[in-house]
């Protein structure tokens, strides 16, 4: 059974994504920021990590760069709702960090699930 980590500072969004993936039979952990996530992914193995970019404390980029150093860059899906600028701006940068996929909020759940499955299959 594949294990997925969802990192987002929005509790509701976390719950929504967790529900969407749990239905499909994945084991899902959630974290509300990069700091919490780090504690989790250092002690557990995750097949896919879905992370928001803009978060308090440790942001999504740091998470991405940290995981990339652990050789898990291609297991990451970056999600952004945008902020001061459009979400694309953030996601372009994330792409440069070689993440597996990027999604704008609101997320197309079908596509996200497909991408998750694709990453799991790849490995």
């Amino acid at each position: 059974m594949s294990t997925i980590l969802i990192i987002d500072d929005d509790e509701q969004f976390n719950l929504m994504l967790k529900s969407a993936l749990t239905i499909k039979g994945y084991n899902v952990d959630t974290a509300s920021n990069g700091k919490e996530a780090k504690a989790l992914y250092q002690s557990n193995v995750y097949d896919v990590i879905i992370t928001d970019i803009i978060m308090p404390n440790v942001d999504g980029y740091e998470v991405i760069l940290d995981l990339r150093r652990m050789g898990m860059g291609d297991r990451i899906i970056a999600v952004s709702g945008g902020g001061r600028t459009a979400a694309d701006d953030y996601l372009i940068t994330a792409k440069h960090f070689d993440v597996a996929a990027t999604f704008n909020k609101p997320v197309d759940l079908q596509a996200l699930r497909a991408k998750v499955e694709e990453i799991i299959q790849k490995h």
Partner: protein, 770 residues
């Protein structure tokens, strides 16, 4: 008993008459030549004796020449005897004229005895001559035949002759003692004449009659006739002697005192007893006293006791204390005879202290003179150097004023042009040594000239050089015509009194004004932009949160739809809820795009000179640099113009500069900003950022000499650009909006970094379309 006593010889009468006349006129005849008020009393007395003597002798010769002895004859003879018996003491006193006391007691007593003796004999002769004639000595009657002649002859030998011999001795002594050759001559001649005259008188009166008659028989002789005649000659001699040696010889005395007063040595004249008689001004000055004070003193009181004051002598280096000051004197003492037997002394002293003082002074002055001469040479040298420097300064000044980028002139106090630089000459022509028309001189210049306070004003000119008002200038400016703006400065060179010299500067402010205007405009833009930025940031944060909310809602709606069948009555409600969320999302996106669009729309990109902004930024950072960090802008191409929003450009530059300075905070270093044009022929790939499309850019390089970055750090520096976190958190680069701003401006950047050497940000900002 009969005695002739008087002779009746006509020669004798004639001679006696002549002698009487001579003695009567003697005073007048001889004394006229001297200027003394009166003759000394002994000489006067001697003349009176001669008058009486000769008168009595003449009367006797004329009327009493017979042998008979009558009472009148005896009285006459006695009177005659009373006269000549005093001649001895008188002559002696003449010989001792230097004694100031008129009559010494011995001579008075001697005179009295002689007079008494004469009177006694005369009384006896008148009353009874026999008392005399019958005097017997050892049985003989020596006075029997010529009692009067013998007695009076004895009287003459007793009372007169010794004194005449004494006088001769005095003269002789004077001859021997005198140091003055003239005095010796005079004394010798007088003595010789005196002796000869008396020898002749004695020979004829006594010795010859005795030898002729072998016995003393004064029958036919005239008693003491030759002595009587010689005494006239002695009187003449005495007067001559007195005249020749007298201190009362006015001319010589006058001359002497003049010389003494003029002489630079001190001279004091004192009497033979040491009493001070006179002193010259030099002496008075040396002793700091007055002549009255000095005259109360004795010479011995003034000079040291070991000097012999009454001998001609010479002393060297005598120390004498005057008012507690030791002076050294060269002293010479002279003796001067003021009469036959009196002398006074003169002490001549030269103050050696003064002489030495003056010698030393001359030596000092000579040394000073040499020093002055050397000083003079030195001053001349200095003068030469100063002149050279002055020339150099002049040259320097000349070069400087000609190199000034504005017009320069100076006027002197009277308003005449003194100096102009080439720029001013080119503009207004050479005005050297000329005046300005008083109407053309501005009030500012006049005020500066009179008050000494610098004045300035702005003037506007058209292209043709016509001076216009500010309003006219504004009109022309709006019409797009060229207007020149000048800053006119009048700087007075303040001295003691006004009017002052004035320096005038005319600075072309046209370019500067244009730049200032541009800068003002940019500042305004920046302000508006920053306000919109704040609004944008607020909206961005809101949008982010709201997007998340809607995202969750949409997601849950999708999940719900998946969880129930499509024919379920709730299915339609869920679809409606999702639609509503979608509408909210759309409306949010519209809001966001409006805000984003507005920030760009509110401030349309304009064309501007980036170097102004760069200089602003540099200036701002220069004021608060950490220790050891420098910031320089160099190789800035000021001709470059770019398109964009000024505030964005400034923000980006500020953020990069701040980042660079932070990187050098601990180690120190230099941050260099350069700007030049660069044309990219093809797209430039940049790691971790969008590729830079080909085109014409202003390339702004901001290099620090910090530690540089390793690959990991270099990767991470991009993340903070996108964070919305407050500056100081995360990596702390605080460049939150840089990327968006760059994107808006279609600008890009890349980074070059070398570990240990530093980092360079290259910012590519599109130039304006040409």
């Amino acid at each position: 008993m009969h005695e002739a006593l008087y002779s009746h010889s006509p020669y004798i009468i004639a001679l006696s008459a002549i002698a009487l006349v001579v003695s009567l006129f003697l005073k007048k005849m001889l004394w006229r030549e001297t200027s003394a008020k009166k003759l000394p009393s002994p000489i006067l007395k001697f003349i009176h004796i001669n008058i009486v003597w000769n008168f009595c002798a003449l009367v006797g010769s004329l009327f009493f020449w017979q042998q008979q002895t009558s009472t009148i004859k005896i009285i006459l003879f006695s009177i005659q005897a009373l006269a000549w018996v005093q001649a001895g003491t008188t002559i002696y006193r003449i010989g001792k004229l230097d004694t100031d006391h008129a009559d010494s007691n011995p001579s008075k007593i001697w005179n009295t005895i002689a007079i008494c003796a004469v009177l006694l004999v005369s009384i006896f002769a008148i009353f009874d001559i026999r008392i005399i004639t019958e005097i017997s000595i050892m049985g003989l009657y020596p006075l029997k035949n010529y009692p009067l002649a013998i007695i009076f002859s004895s009287y003459f030998i007793i009372f007169v002759v010794p004194l005449i011999i004494a006088t001769m001795y005095q003269l002789f002594k004077r001859c021997m003692q005198s140091s003055n050759s003239n005095m010796v001559k005079v004394n010798t001649k007088i003595l010789t004449s005196f002796i000869i005259i008396f020898l002749i008188a004695y020979s004829f009166d006594f010795i010859l009659p005795i030898i002729q008659t072998t016995s003393f028989k004064p029958d036919k002789m005239h008693f003491l006739f030759w002595n009587q005649c010689c005494s006239i000659i002695i009187a003449i001699l005495a007067i001559q002697y007195f005249t020749s040696i007298s201190y009362k010889n006015k001319s010589s005395y006058w001359l002497l005192s003049r010389i003494v007063n003029q002489i630079n040595d001190g001279i004091i004249i004192y009497h033979s007893d040491g009493r001070i008689k006179a002193a010259n001004p030099t002496a008075l000055q040396m002793f700091q006293t007055t002549i009255d004070e000095l005259q109360t003193k004795y010479i011995q009181e003034i000079f040291s006791k070991n000097i012999e004051f009454f001998r001609e002598s010479h002393y060297k280096s005598q120390k004498i204390s005057i008012k507690n000051e030791i002076h050294k004197f060269d002293i010479k003492i002279y003796q001067s005879h003021i009469s036959m037997l009196t002398s006074e002394f003169m002490i001549q002293f030269s103050d050696l202290t003064n002489t030495l003082y003056y010698q030393q002074r001359i030596k000092d002055l000579n040394e000073q003179y040499v020093e002055y001469k050397q000083d003079l040479i030195r001053y001349q040298d200095r003068l030469n150097i100063s002149e050279k420097r002055s020339d150099e300064n002049k040259n320097f000044l000349f070069t400087l004023i000609n190199a000034l980028p504005f017009q320069f002139w100076s006027k002197n106090e009277q308003g005449v042009y003194v100096m102009q630089n080439q720029k001013d000459i080119a503009n207004r022509g050479n005005k050297s040594s000329s005046f300005d028309n008083p109407e053309q001189i501005t009030d500012y210049e006049n005020e500066a000239r009179m008050s000494g306070v610098s004045k300035s004003f702005i003037s506007y000119e058209t292209v043709s050089g016509r001076i216009i008002t500010q309003d006219e200038a504004n009109v022309l400016f709006r019409e797009g015509k060229d207007v020149f703006i000048f800053d006119n400065l009048f700087i007075p060179i303040v001295t003691d009194t006004s009017p002052y010299k004035v320096i005038g500067l005319k600075i072309d402010m046209t370019e500067q004004r244009k730049l200032e205007k541009e800068r003002d405009m940019l500042r305004e833009q920046k302000y508006i932009h920053s306000r919109l930025e704040e609004l944008g940031t607020l909206c961005g944060a809101f949008a982010h949160d709201y997007n998340n909310i809607l995202g969750s809602q949409i997601g849950f709606c999708d999940l719900a739809k998946e969880s129930i069948a499509e024919d379920h009555p709730a299915y339609m409600f869920i679809c409606e809820a999702r639609k509503a969320a979608e509408r909210g999302k759309q409306s949010l996106e519209e809001l966001l795009s409006t805000i984003r669009g507005n920030t760009s729309a509110a401030i349309p990109p304009i064309e501007f000179s980036p170097h102004i902004i760069i200089k602003d930024v540099v200036l701002r950072f220069t004021q608060s640099l950490p220790n050891g960090v420098r910031i320089v802008s160099t190789e800035i191409d000021e001709d470059i113009k770019i398109m964009g929003v000024v505030a964005s450009f400034e923000r980006v530059i500020t953020n990069i500069v701040k980042n660079g300075i932070d990187a050098m905070k601990s180690s120190g270093g230099q941050l260099t900003i350069k700007m030049h044009s660069e044309t990219l022929e093809e797209t430039l790939d940049v790691p971790y950022a969008a590729p830079i499309p080909a085109g014409s850019y202003a390339k702004i390089s901001i290099s620090d000499t910090g530690t540089g970055m390793d690959a990991g750090t270099l990767e991470r520096i991009f993340s903070p650009f996108f964070t919305t976190k407050a500056p100081g958190e995360g990596l702390g680069l605080g460049l939150s909006s840089a990327v968006r701003l760059l994107k808006e401006a279609k600008a890009a950047f890349n980074v070059q970094t070398t570990l240990g050497k530093g980092t360079t940000f290259n910012l590519y900002w599109p130039k304006r379309n040409e």
